[in-house]
Amino acid sequence: MADRLTASRVRSAWLFLTPMLVVLALVAAWPLVRTIWLSFTDANLLSMEKAKFVGLENFKGEYGLLHDKLWWTSVKNTLWFTFFTVTIETVLGMTVALVLNKEFPGRGLIRAAVLVPWAIPTVVSAKMWSWMLNDQFGILNHIGVQLGLLHAPLAWTADPDLLMASVVMVDVWKTTPFMALLILAGLQMLPKECYEAAQVDGVHPVKVFFKVTLPLIRPALMVAIIFRALDAIRIFDLIYVLTGTREPSMTMSVYARQQLIEFQQVGYGSAASTLLFFIVALLTVLYIVIGRVKLGGD
């Protein structure tokens, strides 16, 4: 039997939650449901009212996603992109974090400098790097040729074989700070005694890293990697601004948007979006489950 005082408090709790929940329902719940619904229709951007229910046509059908070579290319691209960026960013981020973890004069300045790539809007980063990667006037080609690394300037944002490399390069530059910060947070929570003991024992720093540091920050590292991976799978802005809708670098988000807006295939594009959503959701759930299991087992 709930007493009146507690009941009124619970009532006021839901009252306070309502504005946020309404907005979230409007911008998250409803659009998601709508997108999933649309993926079962043949809706067209110009004539949305005439949409007809087509079941799993967009997925399984003759012209469905599962048979679309471009879709599978974008899936492959997304996975490669995720793999490369997360790996490189983890390694580089770890390096930067280790550096920032040490006390030295000017550490604050370095930390501030490291934040700059993260602070710059993605579009601006893409443009800046586009300019540096420019095949005629780009400084990177210039340095490459001068140092003898390249025979001739490369068309980084035009040559199909180089597109993926370009986007990976820029994303690594932009996102390594974030990884570095997350790893740094993990490093700073480690007890200093381990290092001091290793120092006294005269263990080589590299060995200390692999045998002591790495195992200890594994949990924080896993969190950072999962976060980054989930972000990488969803990426849109950078790809679109740097390489547009070029096939070799098209990710699932870019594919979906192209279908939706450019080709006005709302039903089809929604199907692609829905698949992407479920992939991300699945990975998130997997992560939580594995995370819980690990915590329980520990």
Partner: protein, 390 residues
């Protein structure tokens, strides 16, 4: 001396005072609890509490940690809801009434001052919310500040104040609301010993000045003994005894109440009843010796196992053997104005403590002692005291 009595100023826009405030007269019941109980999920914290606290009295809830005294206070405040039974204030049932409408003000253990507001604003906050008119509010604030000698602190922030000063501000915040009842939740626990002693007397003075009902929670029996008109001893969620401090001290109704008040603790020894008289009972102690207690037998029979209790200050070391009570002196602690003797009775029941002004024996010696019948308490197998003769 102006009183913070709701009847004194008649302000129709005042929402901090309770409604119908002309009815409470000193001596009438202010807070009434009938069968009050509180449980959190499956845990029962309070059970079958029956109390009536009179208007204008200083009532202290005292007991060990976890006995439920703070919870009981919070039930009166309305910060926790009553699970069973009825709580009334001035005859009105308060179970479902919001805290701010009960005519109550509370002083918290950690003072709970608003850190970002000056002392003045802290004192004014409740008044502004109760829509007390500006001039009246300012009058009350300055009056309270004067009473508590914190006038020069009105523009400071809490973090600039000492513990004792913060405590006064917390009390001042309660005073400005002109409540029917003051609630104190272990307000002196965070102060150092010297400050505690001076604050104790200040609170008593305040009570005499304001003449408002005050309910005070503490685990410190000294505060309970010195400040209370009546004390409530709580143990594991129920009331052990409720009465004036001296009565509880001299006529404890349960073993627990007897052992709680008094320092050093009352001595307890087990024994069996050998004689039952009209106004006395004789007990043969398990550890040897007999004592006679001036208690009414009240259903007790020869052969009943009982617990005998007597306070260290009532133990008399005697020249010769009287009644077969002997012990060896194990340790003497000198405290300047009195000494505590630790007496051993063959390690049967642990040490017996005696509180004496002059030490008649040295460590290692065997002594005889007696306990005057009038200071001897007897508790039955359930821990209930046999009623005293006088």
């Amino acid at each position: 001396m102006p009183e913070a009595n709701p009847e004194a100023k008649n302000d129709t826009k005042d929402k901090t005072g309770p409604s119908g405030n002309g009815s409470s007269k000193a001596g009438s019941t202010c807070i009434l609890m009938r069968g009050v109980g509180k449980h959190f999920g499956k845990t029962r914290v309070l059970e079958k509490i029956d109390l009536d606290i009179k208007t204008g009295e200083f009532c202290v809830f005292v007991g060990p940690s976890g006995c439920g005294k703070s919870t009981l206070l919070r039930l009166i405040a309305g910060l926790e809801s009553v699970s069973s039974g009825d709580l009334s204030i001035d005859g009105q049932r308060m179970n479902d009434v919001e805290p701010s409408k009960r005519g109550i003000a509370m002083v918290f253990q950690s003072y709970a001052l608003y850190p970002h507001m000056t002392v003045y604003k802290n004192l004014a906050f409740g008044l502004k919310l109760g829509q007390v008119e500006q001039g009246e509010a300012d009058r009350r604030i300055r009056e309270a500040a004067r009473m508590l000698q914190i006038e020069q602190l009105l523009d400071r922030l809490p973090k600039q104040l000492s513990g004792g000063q913060r405590q006064r501000v917390a009390i001042g915040r309660a005073i400005t609301r002109q409540p029917k009842i003051f609630l104190f939740d272990e307000p002196l626990s965070n102060l150092d010993a010297a400050l505690r002693v001076s604050m104790r007397s200040e609170l008593s003075r305040l009570h005499k000045q304001l003449k408002t009902t005050m309910v005070y929670v503490t685990h410190d029996q000294v505060e309970a003994m010195t400040m209370a008109d009546r004390i409530v001893i709580l143990n594991a969620g129920h009331v052990e005894q409720f009465g004036p401090p001296l009565e509880v001290y001299h006529r404890p109704r349960t073993v627990f109440a007897a052992g709680f008040l008094g320092s050093p603790k009352m001595n307890f020894m087990r024994g069996d009843i050998t004689e039952v008289g009209g106004d006395s009972v004789t007990v043969k102690l398990t550890g040897g010796g007999n004592v006679k207690a001036a208690v009414k037998p009240d259903g007790a029979k020869v052969g009943d196992t009982v617990t005998v209790g007597f306070r260290p200050e009532h133990l008399k070391i005697t020249a010769g053997d009287k009644g077969g009570l002997t012990a060896t002196v194990q340790l003497v602690e000198d405290l300047g104005d009195h000494s505590i003797m630790h007496l051993d009775r063959d390690a049967v029941e642990g040490r017996v403590l005696a509180k004496v002004e002059k030490v008649p024996a040295t460590e290692g010696q065997t002594v005889s002692f007696e306990i005057p019948a009038a200071e001897c308490h007897v508790f039955d197998a359930k821990g209930m005291a046999l009623a005293r003769r006088d």
